[in-house]
């Protein structure tokens, strides 16, 4: 009799479902939801790493962040860094994915090489670049000289001035994210039926008009997804900048995430750091809403 009841309890979907989901939801709430609210609290307090107590100070941390030139530079850099790198990644990713859609000899070996930057730990890939752009031994400069792209006496100091340092950081980010966008876009291209392309060819559309008028519109949802993920990865990243330039020269490549780290963790000003990192949130929210719209639209159609 009791056995029968237990069994029916475990058989009832209304009971088994929540029991199976609850642990995961609780963990996520405890380790994502709770820290998020703690960060809201820290941002309106005067918490320091060194002291256990803190007081409410209102919006003072946000005000002092907005007044600091370093913060404003970091805000501009974050947008520059994200927009430029994502534009490059999507265009190059589409080109590379179109190539990888074809069959050719040696494809799987080349695919492995192309994927390396995404799958290798980012901090280690970046340290490779740190040397390749070194002030004394840079092989990149050596190649540029050997191919006469720069003159015999030019030797760019990649981390020495703001423009070049930003270019390096953006370049490394494009290098890192390109494989990711490529495989996502490739998945989208593969899902377009062959007949669509063939029909376009039969109708006499050339390569460019086929790609522009037929393939690109069909690819829009997946390009949006790749772009949104790319924006999140670039917008919130601090690894590349921390390893490559430490935000230098003179805060020239500082972004919101790295500034939050230097202020909150290395500087010990938890409250200030929390306020700076919360400036990331509005963009994340917008991206999340756009992502939901993509998900919903594809379900309706």
């Amino acid at each position: 009799m009791r056995r029968g009841r237990e069994r029916s309890l475990l058989d009832r979907e209304g009971f088994l479902g929540p029991v199976m989901i609850l642990p995961a939801v609780l963990y996520v709430v405890a380790l994502v939801g709770f820290p998020f609210f703690l960060s809201l609290y820290l941002a309106v307090s005067d918490a320091k790493i060194a002291s256990a107590t803190s007081h409410f100070v209102g919006l003072a941390n946000f005000e002092s962040a907005l007044q600091s030139p370093t913060f404003r530079r970091a805000l501009v850099n974050t947008f520059l860094f994200t927009l430029i790198s994502q534009a490059l990644v999507l265009v190059l990713g589409k080109i590379l994915a179109t190539c990888l859609l074809q069959d050719f000899y040696g494809k799987s070996a080349l695919r492995f090489l192309i994927l390396l930057p995404w799958v290798a730990p980012i901090s280690l890939g970046t340290i490779g670049w740190k040397w390749m752009l070194d002030s004394l031994y840079s092989p990149v400069n050596w190649v540029l000289q050997a191919t006469h792209i720069i003159g015999k006496n030019d030797w760019p100091m990649w981390f020495g001035e703001r423009g070049l340092a930003m270019a390096s950081v953006i370049g490394v980010h494009v290098w890192r994210l390109l494989p990711f966008s490529t495989v996502i876009i490739l998945a989208g291209l593969t899902s377009i039926p062959k007949e669509v392309r063939e029909a376009a060819d039969v109708d006499g559309a050339g390569f460019w008009s086929r790609e522009l008028h037929i393939v690109l519109p069909l690819l829009r949802p997946i390009l949006t997804v790749a772009g949104l993920f790319g924006i999140i990865f670039a917008f919130t990243d601090m690894t590349v900048i921390y390893v490559l330039t430490r935000g230098g020269p003179a805060d020239g490549t500082q972004v919101l995430a790295s500034l939050a780290f230097f202020t909150g963790i290395l500087g010990g000003d938890l409250a200030g750091g929390a306020a700076i990192s919360l400036f990331l949130f509005p963009i994340l929210l917008i991206v999340a809403i756009l992502m939901l719209r993509v998900a919903r639209r594809t379900e309706v159609t």
């Binding site: 058989d11 190539c99 994927l115 190649v143 989208g188 919130t236 780290f261």
Partner: protein
């Protein structure tokens, strides 16, 4: 007519190869550089007159020897494996049941809940590392691998729930229903029928949870300060540099040895990984 067509086809192939090879060369170049630096002698490495792209002196194993004998590299690898194994275990225990339930057992609220879990994956470490550091401090876990074991599932669980949900949905319902008609309970059907069928999906979740922990940098940098307790992704770039002195040969060797196995694992499960990211934008 046919000749020009063949010529155009050949030209198309040529452009294709040239483009793909150029991309591959640019993307893989840093890893080629790591191979060179790993086996070059210091004399070869630091001579500005040499062509840096080839070996100018006989290759050496000295850099590898230094890495394994004089640095904490093996310790970092061990730490990384420990953290990875613990995180994978926690992730599976939490994510596999949740993924199954979201695929099968929930009615109307299953879908929004699934998307909600997916959205938490969008929340980056850089938004949460400051409050997390406070939590880790209160729990007295600074400098301990336990801090990472506690925090990493906050991003591996959402991703793996999403991944496994998609996988369980792809297993036909009929198989389970048939077993249940034969008098099997739901729980038994899960253990005896669904689990064996979903080994591939579970294995890919294991691989991704593991590689995500190997790659993580921000939390490890924030919570761990003593070099003996670091993981590979933080230990290598921060500890093999003393002031302005870079142990380039060993540094590049460490990057190479860590990256290649991770890359190989990832490559095998790539298609499933992509499916986890396309949010149903592809049917």
């Amino acid at each position: 007519m046919t000749v020009s067509r063949a010529a155009r086809r050949a030209a198309g192939r040529l452009v294709l190869y040239a483009t793909v090879i150029a991309f591959a060369a640019l993307l893989a170049f840093p890893f080629y550089w790591m191979v060179l630096a790993t086996f070059k002698t210091d004399g070869d490495l630091y001579n500005l007159k040499n062509n840096p792209l080839v070996f100018n002196a006989a290759p050496t194993l000295a850099n590898l020897q230094l890495l394994f004998e004089k640095t904490l590299y093996l310790r970092w690898l061990w730490n990384t494996l420990l953290v990875g194994a613990a995180v994978v275990a926690i992730t599976l225990v939490l994510a596999a049941p949740a993924g199954y339930a979201l695929a099968r057992l929930t009615g109307k609220w299953g879908e929004p809940l699934g998307i909600g879990i997916f959205l938490t994956y969008l929340i980056p470490p850089t938004l949460l590392f400051i409050p997390m550091s406070r939590i880790v401090a209160v729990l007295d876990l600074q400098d301990s691998l336990w801090s990472l074991i506690l925090v990493y599932p906050s991003f591996t669980v959402p991703f793996c729930v999403w991944l496994l949900m998609g996988f369980f949905k792809s297993i036909p319902r009929d198989i389970e229903e048939a077993a249940r008609v034969d008098g099997c309970s739901r729980a038994r059907a899960i253990v005896q029928i669904v689990m064996p069928l979903s080994l591939a999906g579970i294995l890919s979740a294991v691989i991704f949870a593991f590689t995500l922990t190997i790659q993580e940098f921000v939390y490890a940098l924030t919570f761990i300060t003593s070099s003996g307790a670091q993981t590979v992704s933080v230990g290598v770039p921060t500890n093999l540099v003393r002031g302005d002195v870079f142990f380039w040969g060993s540094l590049m060797a460490a990057c190479l040895i860590t990256s290649i196995p991770v890359a190989a694992l990832y490559n095998i499960f790539l298609d499933r990984f992509v499916a986890g990211f396309t949010v149903g934008a592809i049917k």
